[in-house]
Symmetry: C2
């Protein structure tokens, strides 16, 4: 039976990327060795690192004056690296979900933090819009896509302070005006690669403005200066990132990724809105096109387990909602096909017909 992988992360990757990575783990570049056992400084791997950085820049149209680094540790480590490198006195954070809140919490260890707005009191079901960012903060931080709650900020902010965004779960799903950001970062395990890799896009001249001493590995300058080779990088995850970046480019780039994402989301949200059994969980205008959350309408609540079993039996994988929201979550990252979403919609229709 064909499986449709709606996992929230680690999550679906293109079949080619999976096959190429598996092949490289077995034997790389025809050199008689596995990618797992070669030096990161070898002539076989350096081009992988170089091309991955260049291609991420190309696909996101990253301006001159920015660097791309690949690190380990996950986006959660960035939650402290950001204030280490940027928070001198005061920072502003927009609290739109679990991860935004975690980022905010870490910043408090380093200076004053202004929570400019929060949707916590409504279980993060919307994106706050009516707030202002103080002009005297060192930076403004937001999470562009809230994986758990299914809301998304699909725009770039125009602000007079440095803007820093966690784009873990919607990077490469649409064009971004990188020139409006000081830093864009994220874990790779949604739209970029397997787990174990973090990308950071940094405007070089925004660094070096805090007075604290920064531990070497937590200082972005270390990794920029050494081309992400200060220490041994996550070799295999970087290779699978490169394969995925090539795939995105071959498919038509981030504009095409956006077209597909909007198409998938429209198909699924239309069904959620039409089907008498289900309803979406967030404000319509703030709906994520990556993580589509829905629950059963109150009068059908006791059918939840039945629908889960029904959909699972038809090949749907990973559609259980996060415990903070309940119900269902269909994560539709770049590699999710229209066919996959249509298969889920077919399940919803068929289940509705039975009830």
């Amino acid at each position: 039976m064909k499986k449709y992988n709606f996992n929230a992360g680690p999550s679906i990757l293109p079949a080619e990327v999976i096959a190429q990575t598996a092949q490289a783990c077995q034997e790389f570049n025809g050199i008689g060795l596995s990618l797992m056992e070669i030096s990161h400084r070898s002539k076989d791997f350096q081009p992988v690192m170089d091309e991955a950085q260049a291609l991420l820049k190309e696909l996101l149209d990253v301006p001159v004056g920015y660097s791309v680094v690949f690190l380990g540790g996950g986006a959660s480590l960035q939650f402290c690296m950001i204030p280490f490198n940027y928070l001198e006195k005061k920072a502003a954070y927009l609290n739109t979900g679990t991860w935004a809140k975690k980022a905010l919490k870490e910043a408090k260890l380093f200076g004053e933090v202004v929570e400019v707005a929060s949707s916590a009191d409504k279980n993060y079901t919307f994106i706050p819009k009516d707030y202002s960012v103080p002009a005297d903060v060192d930076y403004f931080h937001f999470t562009s896509n809230n994986t758990i709650y299914g809301t998304e900020i699909r725009k770039d902010f125009d602000l007079p302070v440095p803007v820093i965004a966690d784009m873990s779960s919607d990077i490469l799903s649409r064009p971004v005006d990188v020139s409006k950001y000081a830093v864009i970062y994220g874990g790779a395990q949604k739209n970029l690669s397997m787990a174990g890799l973090t990308f950071v896009i940094i405007k070089d001249d925004t660094l070096g403005k805090v007075s604290r001493a920064i531990p070497t590995m937590l200082d972005y300058r270390t990794h920029i200066d050494k081309g992400s080779m200060f220490n041994t990088p996550p070799v295999v995850p970087i290779y699978s990132a490169l394969m995925n970046l090539r795939w995105v480019k071959a498919q038509g780039g981030v504009k095409e990724m956006e077209r597909r994402a909007l198409e998938r989301a429209a198909i699924l949200y239309d069904e959620i809105d039409r089907n008498k059994l289900f309803r979406g969980t967030v404000e319509t205008e703030d709906r994520s096109v990556m993580n589509i959350c829905f629950v059963m309408n109150d009068e059908y609540k006791d059918l939840e387990a039945d629908f889960m079993a029904f959909a699972t039996a038809r090949g749907m994988v990973g559609i259980k909602g996060h415990r903070s929201v309940g119900g269902f979550r269909a994560s539709c990252y770049n590699a999710m096909s229209r066919e996959g979403v249509e298969a889920l919609v077919a399940c919803m229709k068929e289940f509705e017909a039975q009830h």
Copy 2:
């Protein structure tokens, strides 16, 4: 032509481990999905994490009261995590090489650091022995194996202060009395797994004794409390670690790994000492059994490039010495066969016969 992989790291792994990891990247556990695209919290991956932790404990005979955590970021990130978690006032470091020195440097950001001894003035060609560790330090830190210089401390210290060791390049190569340590840590990319993973073995009751606030991701308690699942861990590297741990166990455990390491080292050092063209670079009693460094004797110095080409043409990979030492380095980790070392020795003999 058969290749013999003497890379210093990332480095040779058993053929079974490579094949099993490549297979899991293609399809995992027969579930119709790749290991690269499943949730780290899924019922298919949790047993991998659990068994990897348990097996590392079993193989190293880790006592009750210790935890094993798997992190990203590399051993270099531990260089600051150790003082973050342990350095209240003063720490002692033994300076035996590049990595020991880097660890020492990071600690200086957190408190007073006593360099108890150093072999830097002799290009780290020996392990200092005539020194004492102050009784009032928070901990004593050393690097058990110096990958670049080819020296090794193959003993456990008996000290009245907490002992912390970087065992990146000799973990699992011999029995260790873990009860004598507060922390043992290391990058995985030598004897444990592919790059992108760090292991830390921590004596639980040694934590929580510093007064500083520790960023969440840098606090070992975070990862112990969450079983290395506080955030998304490096899923594929953990899987390949598990495959390798199973391999070590099936081969006879760390005692057998030690027997093989001593045998390989004896074969290669005997040839280095016998062959008129070559000489070892470090004090005989401090020779590493993992990274075997040698150079050409002065009168044959101009044959260095020739020997490199000669050996490369016969399947030897990664034997170029680090630029800090020059000459050659044959890294002989657990997966290196006796046959591999004998093939290198045959090259050395044949090359000698030609000159």
